[in-house]
């Protein structure tokens, strides 16, 4: 049974439909990224898929916020969606990703503030 059947064949259908509705409101490139995120989270979906729901919700939330702010996809996820998914699910290597985001955060702040100061 694959992830889709797991999801659609269960009581999670309704929750899943809500995700789809939210995703459809996103810009095209974000929708594509959402598809990739689902695909990459699939291997984590082991047993019922139920435990993936909050993670999917978090990822979709991130995309929504970023799209609403007009941020580019690249800015939000970087160029490594599989890595992003690993970190979201807390799998192997999640630490490394968090370290990278941490550096990214401080670097972006320093860069943008210095541009501001002129």
């Amino acid at each position: 049974m694959n992830f889709w059947e797991t999801i659609t064949g269960s009581d999670l259908t309704r929750e899943w439909k809500a995700f789809e509705a939210r995703a459809e409101a996103l810009p095209d490139d974000y929708q594509a990224a959402w598809g990739q995120i689902i695909a990459h989270l699939f291997p984590y979906g082991g047993f019922t898929g139920r435990n993936l729901m909050p993670i999917l919700d978090a990822a979709l939330g991130l995309l929504e916020v970023a799209a609403a702010d007009g941020q580019s996809l690249q800015e939000v996820l970087g160029d490594d969606i599989p890595g992003f998914c690993t970190a979201l699910a807390g799998g192997e290597g999640a630490r490394t990703y968090r370290d990278r985001w941490r550096e990214q955060l401080n670097r972006n702040v320093a860069k943008k503030l210095s541009r501001l100061g002129g």
């Binding site: 809500a18 984590y44 082991g46 047993f47 019922t48 139920r50 435990n51 993936l52 909050p54 993670i55 978090a58 939330g61 991130l62 916020v65 970023a66 609403a68 702010d69 941020q71 939000v76 992003f84 970190a87 979201l88 699910a89 807390g90 999640a94 968090r98 985001w101 941490r102 550096e103 990214q104 955060l105 401080n106 972006n108 702040v109 320093a110 943008k112 503030l113 501001l116």
Partner: protein, 108 residues
Amino acid sequence: MSIQDIIEGKKQWRAHMARVKALPQDYRIVYKEMQRYLFKVGPVDLPDGPLLPGIVDFFEEGVAAGKGVLELTGNDVAAFCDDLVKDSPTFAEVYQQSISGERGTAEK
């Protein structure tokens, strides 16, 4: 989640973002970078918890006192974020726990 919840949530979120927009630019830059980081790290109570509005409260006080944003947060903004969510479980942690739980019962 009902449609009503979603609409209510969006309204609150818009009001929240309006407060962010009213901050001086240096504060706004740091807030947005922090928010992006926090969403990725994924503490479970982030979207509707008091954390993000609390940061804006804190920043507004700093603005009123005439301080620069880094004076408030320190240069290591990431460390500030990590401290903020230290006690909140992340989605990843909850998820990892749920699979180890399932595995535990599956093996019995």
